[in-house]
């Protein structure tokens, strides 16, 4: 190797090393995440007057990605922000209602990596604005109307469509009502996915025009309602399929569609999730199947009267009504919790309205059964015509009853309030041989003190250096909320006010700093009532 050549090589080596060092340094610096240094108003602040804006100060320039404000009524709205380097200024809407507000923020660091958190502030009761965010309310009403309509349409399609497909095989030897069943199945197959998307909007607190955003559908897909939508779709496909095939397979598919109605109704909703579930789950399914049999038979009788069909239906009708009542009564009792809730709550009033309609329905059915069935079977054309008209009126009443029942979507059953009023919630978390008992004084929307009792699995005392509570509701678009717990006198820990601003299932995490170098996480769930 010549001297000159060696020199060149050394130069290359030096340059490579310099470039390497520069690169390593640059990347190390460029990939540091941003961190929130200060929020103004500060996290957890209680203010006499509503602030006009909220500023977040980071340790490096950031780009705002998503900002959502959740008010004391749980209504959420997206906000716009202006970033000036490391400072993000968020204009707050006016007027802001008194109570606790959460601002969930998500920003991109310089390295493009998103970070997020939730900061809370409360406006004192003395500073209550005269009108509490009327705009949010109207937005909600439109969405609520859409949710109700989609749900009522799905139930209508499900009960009448699958019911008629079954009644057609059962009463009319697999003839007729084709267009009606196909039409109802098509309605249901549109309403099922639509109501899932609306469910997603509701979970994220977004207005109707955000329906096409992918995160809305992901949120809808994360709710238990996805099971109902799927099963309803399958039931309707089976019902429609029973019109295409013949004989035994038609009967099989029609029965499958009918059972699918029960499965779809039992797959989600507050009646099917009430305790004891071994009783409520089959009761909801049986109630749905009986209602579908009745609704479908009415449709078939009204549109395609035949004497054998009427004879078969009138034999089975009492059993169908009995099943409806037997399955429905215990559900109503469980959901109400008390007699007073029947007129004292929205849920109870909807139930009264439904029972009133059911009363009229039963009167019409009785008239049909005891006054018209015999002459109609004997071949009197006048009685047959009237019977068909009354069956149609009954079907219309069933549709109205479904509309009322769909309204339950918006009224949590009184039993949930009763449970909440009665006792604070307790959540037990355990991992790595450690146990925590978290007591939530008021597990309701609006925030609650929490106390945390810690011990080792054997019962030995546990004295960590620090305890941090992390609350999150990713499905509601809320970034994690962190609160450092304070030590109380008796060896327990407490968080003065955990801002539980929206109802539903929260993820609750405790980070226990056992010693300087050891962190243990305990995970659990907390249900917050509306």
């Amino acid at each position: 190797m010549t001297g000159r050549r060696r020199l060149t090589l050394i130069a290359v080596a030096v340059r490579a090393a310099a470039a390497f060092g520069l690169l390593a340094g640059m990347i190390g610096a460029a990939h540091a995440h941003a961190a929130l240094i200060r929020a103004d108003p500060a996290d957890g602040a209680v203010l006499a007057q509503a602030p006009a804006r909220l500023t977040l100060t980071f340790n490096e320039p950031v780009a705002p990605l998503a900002l959502r404000l959740v008010g004391p009524d749980g209504a959420a709205q997206a906000l716009q922000a202006q970033a000036d380097g490391a400072k993000v200024t968020i204009g707050l809407p006016a007027p802001l209602a008194a109570g606790a507000h959460l601002l969930s923020w998500r920003v991109a660091s310089e390295d493009g990596h998103p970070i997020g958190g939730t900061t809370s502030f409360a406006i004192g009761a003395g500073a209550a604005s005269p009108q509490a965010s009327p705009t949010a309310k109207t937005g909600d009403a439109a969405l609520a109307g859409a949710i109700w309509a989609a749900r009522a349409a799905l139930w209508l399609a499900l009960l009448f469509g699958a019911g008629a497909a079954f009644a057609r095989v059962w009463l009319a030897d697999g003839q007729g009502a084709d267009r009606m069943v196909f039409g109802l199945a098509a309605l249901g197959l549109v309403a099922a996915p639509l109501s899932l998307g609306l469910q997603g909007l509701d979970a994220l607190g977004l207005p109707l025009d955000a329906l096409l955003r992918p995160e809305v559908w992901a949120a809808g897909g994360a709710t238990t309602y996805v099971r109902t939508a799927l099963l309803a779709g399958l039931a309707l496909l089976a019902a429609a399929g029973s019109l295409v095939v013949r004989g035994g397979s038609a009967a099989g598919l029609a029965t499958l569609g009918l059972l699918g109605v029960g499965a779809a109704l039992a797959a989600s909703g507050h009646a099917a999730t009430a305790a004891p579930r071994w009783a409520t789950l089959p009761a909801v399914a049986a109630h749905g199947v009986a209602a579908a049999v009745w609704a479908g038979a009415l449709l078939v009788l009204a549109t395609r009267f035949s004497r054998p069909a009427l004879a078969r239906f009138s034999r089975a009708a009492p059993a169908t009504v009995a099943a409806l009542v037997l399955a429905g009564t215990p559900l109503a009792v469980i959901q109400l919790g008390s007699m007073a809730a029947l007129w004292g709550s929205d849920y109870g009033r909807l139930l009264l309205a439904k029972l009133g309609l059911v009363g009229v329905l039963l009167a019409l059915a009785g008239w049909n059964r005891f006054r018209l069935t015999e002459p109609a079977l004997a071949g009197e054309p006048a009685a047959q015509r009237r019977l068909g008209r009354i069956a149609l009126a009954e079907a219309a009443l069933v549709a109205a009853i479904l509309g009322v029942a769909a309204g339950w979507r918006f009224t949590p059953p009184p039993r949930t309030f009763a449970a909440v009023e009665a006792a604070p919630a307790q959540v037990t978390l355990a991992a790595s041989g450690l146990e925590a008992l978290v007591t939530v004084a008021r597990p309701r929307v609006g925030g609650s003190p929490m106390t945390i009792a810690l011990r080792k699995a054997g019962g030995a005392p546990l004295d960590p250096k620090a305890v941090t509570l992390v609350l999150s509701r990713a499905d509601a678009g809320l970034e994690p909320i962190r609160r450092d717990a304070a030590r109380t006198g008796d060896g327990a820990w407490e968080v003065a006010e955990a801002p539980l601003a929206v109802a539903g299932r929260w993820r609750l995490r405790l980070d226990l700093l056992i010693d300087d170098f050891t962190l243990t996480r305990l995970d659990g769930e907390l249900v917050v009532a509306p």
């Binding site: 390593a24 990939h31 961190a35 240094i37 340790n59 300087d516 962190l519």
Partner: protein, 176 residues
């Protein structure tokens, strides 16, 4: 020599983005064979939420023996010694049953906008489990009692990507 340089540059190009992709306190060398010396370089790109770092403490995990930290100008270097969980064989038939369990650089000042590296040399005991990851929990302390703790260790089945403050780790390779 040219070929060796090219190879080194290629390796560096591969390693650097991988190391840089993480935003936390990390180890520069992410893989090391057991039964050999290991130079742990703690890359420190963060302060405590804008505040400067004044103390850096590193917990030496069990199985890392014969530890010697590298002094840094402007920082006071201390070690905490303690017994190992068992006795380890070292070079020349030496038996080690105690040694450094914690390294502390204090009294310095690393502003949030700057980057620095802290170095510890040690020996990975030959019977450490190859294929697993060995974690060095690190605590950054800042004025006023603030601290950033890079001490979270993923549990079995956890990827570690979802941890907020993961401890830096090195993947153990079989003995060469």
């Amino acid at each position: 020599m040219t070929r060796a340089l090219i190879r080194a540059a290629a390796v560096a190009a591969l390693l650097v983005p991988a190391a840089g992709a993480s935003a936390h306190v990390t180890l520069e060398t992410r893989e090391a064979p057991v039964g050999a010396g290991y130079k742990a370089v703690f890359k420190t790109p963060h302060g405590c939420k804008g505040a400067p770092t004044t103390t850096l403490r590193v917990k030496i995990p069990e199985g890392v023996i014969a530890v010697k930290p590298m002094p840094k100008p402007g920082w006071t270097l201390k070690t905490v010694k303690g017994p190992y969980a068992r006795t380890y064989d070292f070079y020349h038939g030496a038996k080690l049953s105690e040694g450094v369990v914690e390294v502390i650089w204090s009294g310095g000042e690393l502003p949030d906008e700057f980057y620095d590296e802290f170095v510890v040399s040690g020996f990975l005991a030959p019977d450490l489990p190859a294929g697993e990851k060995l974690y060095f929990p690190v605590v950054q302390e800042c004025p006023g009692g603030a601290a950033e703790r890079w001490i979270e260790i993923p549990q079995a089945g956890q990827s570690g990507a979802e941890l907020d403050k993961p401890a830096p780790g090195v993947t153990l390779l079989p003995k060469r």
